[in-house]
Symmetry: C2
Subunit: 436 residues, 2 copies
């Protein structure tokens, strides 16, 4: 059997559960692909080849373990793994082996998933670019902080990979790499055993090449197994395009992407509101997210700052210092303002709308030396705790992918997946429709 | 200088900051006390004598480090410490040294606190009794799961100790041991680096012998340093006695305690509502807490169940199995019901009341072989995420302490401390007034 690595996670999981393919063959295909391209892409912090193969052989012989039986998975190197080094993208934790798996990784393994290796994260999931390249053009960034996971899935090195988002670390790299990225509702997946940056914002999720892939991943990581079966839409949803209060940051290609999104959504919805403004309580959500993140980061990284400050990068040290200067009273006020913003958006979803469509990023992936890209179009949604999914929709002036994000009310994760699949099926470009 | 170990944390911190006492002398006094009583009380999982003394000597010679300069602290053995073994009360993690401190411990140290040792926790903070005794009568339990912290503070082994509450693991042992226990608002203190039991419920806090002690502890652990200065009340608060929907579980002495509480509160408040009913949306909060906790526990302990199920106690395995049988849809419904209960209580606080006073426990501490006591009177408040503080108010038929808890609206932690101090000052018993 050839080209197993090109199967989507959902296809592979189905074939594995029917014993139509062997887990060990799938792992070998992925390792082949990694062997060919890793020197260019640099998506992996570490690989557990022997372990993965031996687990695959055991699963090939044994009973079905769960919904991910034999599926190879990349795990962002921010998640603890007991059998693979976990460095959080920092030299402080070089060769660090945690004593346990993060809760989400333990659940992936319990469902039969095989952790193929750890994917590159930026330093403690912050903004300093990693060495990873964008598979669509290695001169460009894959985005961050889940750089390796997005790149590995885009490059067919692995069908599924975990990510985490505090500002825009799932949706932005998914957009830059042209893959499906799913950040579920805040709190859906346990953060235990994932290096903490910001307790009010850190959200776990995953990358795949189809909507059903990421449904499968989040189903296993959260324990919400019913989510793995994406349901057909029962009713036509009410959809609105939301350019957000940050629209002046958008590049031209983002406008084109929203136009395609609007056209696409019209075909299966009750009609699309062309330009919905968020409530006034949301005017400052990007700023609030920034301040809350910096304030919490300055506390979360206390141990590292006290013991290893020379091993922290200068950009990160600067962020920590900036965060420590924010007064606790300001931080409390910001949390309260965030609460009011959440209530206003919940009311919007209750009364007027089912799904928002918004830009995933400013535009195409920037040059690799420049930055991991601006998370400005994700900050607010992360703060609001809403489930978001990136779908690739067009390409920009350099031929790099452009995505949009679909957004639902908090807790409406399954519904969001149903809409996202309907949306992908309705896309004008046949290649893009493969995301369905 | 004699009897340094009998200083409250607040007194000791003040004397240390003025260089009136030496940190090394205070540590030696605490170690003396531990040497005398530990064979009976068994409050400590491990002690870091040499390390603590050497840190104390360094602090005695150096500049003031922070608000806890030189203060010895006990840390519940559920919190990661890089230099002391961290076993989470389980044989699985015997001799386990985490690579970092939990965020809260790092913040305690950054403020100048000295971690004297790790205090006994029940197995993964669940219900199986530990070996720790109640200092008021060693035949009785100190409560759980923060058994060692409550007992060590009650026995003058250490002036301040950390705790965590998922059901009733701070307030209940504080009541049984006759100390002040403070569970701040949910999310006030980072849970990162504390073994996760239940992501929607786990709340960090601390034990001291006065209101100002626990204010100091939570101020440092949260980064809300202004909290360390407990303000005088500006206005007379509106107070209500709330017997809760679980009142039929209360023993006779709890009724007597609420009568004393009511009398006490009348002296400094706008008047006390004698028997306030919670909104109907709160009728099932204890049940909701139980199901949400069990469901989340079954996921949180996946790694341990998969790799070390034989090293889990039978009661815990039973709980995990029970939790795994709760459907995800039931769990989602319960989270939604919890949200509605929170909203109803927030409205109550906005419109009618500033402070609730409720039982801390069913009654006195049960016999040590029986159980760590019933957390029924804490479950609901933990679910609601409200800040709670236990104050000792009377004693029961066996002469063991009985406490009540004062409860404020979410985020009103500083206000709660102000009321708690006014309340303690107004208590009829002069010994109890020492909690102020």
């Amino acid at each position: 059997m050839k080209d197993l690595e090109s199967l989507s996670a959902y296809q592979a999981a189905k074939a594995l559960s029917r014993r139509e393919i062997r887990a060990s063959d799938l792992i070998l295909s992925c390792l082949d692909r990694i062997g060919q391209n890793e020197s260019l892409i640099k998506a992996w912090a570490s690989l557990g080849k022997e372990n993965a193969l031996s687990q695959a052989k055991t699963l090939d012989k044994g009973a079905l373990k769960g919904m991910l039986h034999g599926l190879p998975i990349g795990v962002k190197d921010l998640f603890d793994t007991y059998d693979l080094p976990t460095a959080y993208g920092s030299p402080i934790y070089k060769n660090h082996y945690p004593s346990t798996d993060s809760v989400s990784v333990a659940l992936l393994r319990q469902a039969g998933g095989i952790i193929l290796g750890k994917t590159v994260t930026t330093e403690f999931a912050s903004f300093k670019p990693s060495q990873t390249s964008n598979p669509h053009d290695p001169k460009h960034t894959p985005g961050g902080s889940s750089s390796g996971s997005a790149a590995a899935v885009a490059d067919f090195m692995v069908p599924l990979a975990t990510g985490s988002q505090t500002a825009g670390s799932i949706i932005r790299p998914a957009s830059f790499c042209g893959v499906v990225g799913f950040k579920p509702s805040f709190g859906k997946i346990s953060t235990a055993g994932v290096k903490s940056l910001s307790i009010s914002l850190d959200t776990m999720g995953c990358f795949g090449r189809t909507v059903e892939d990421v449904a499968l991943g989040v189903a296993a990581m959260s324990g919400d197994h019913q989510m793995a079966t994406v349901e057909e839409l029962h009713n036509k949803p009410r959809i609105a395009i939301c350019k957000t209060f940050e629209w002046d940051h958008a590049q031209k290609e983002s406008g084109a992407a929203l136009a395609v999104a609007r056209h696409t959504a019209e075909s299966f919805s009750k009609g699309v509101i062309g330009d919905l403004s968020l409530p006034d309580a949301c005017k400052e959500i990007a700023l609030l997210q920034t301040r809350i993140m910096l304030s919490e980061m300055s506390r979360s990284l206390t141990f590292e700052r006290e013991h290893f400050s020379k091993k922290l990068s200068l950009p990160l040290l600067k962020q920590i210092t900036e965060g420590a200067l924010i007064s606790y009273d300001q931080y409390s006020k910001d949390l309260l303002a965030a609460k009011l913003a959440k209530e206003s958006v919940n009311a919007l979803f209750s009364n007027e709308i089912d799904i928002l469509i918004a830009p995933s990023a400013v535009g195409e992936a920037p040059h690799i030396k420049e930055s991991t890209g601006d998370p400005i179009f994700c900050r607010g949604w992360t703060l609001l705790g809403l489930p978001c999914i990136n779908l690739s929709i067009t390409s920009g002036p350099n031929g790099l992918p452009i995505g949009v994000q679909l957004i639902a009310a908090p807790g409406k994760d399954r519904f969001l997946l149903s809409v996202a699949r309907a949306f992908a099926r309705a896309l004008p470009d046949p290649v893009m429709r493969d995301q369905a």
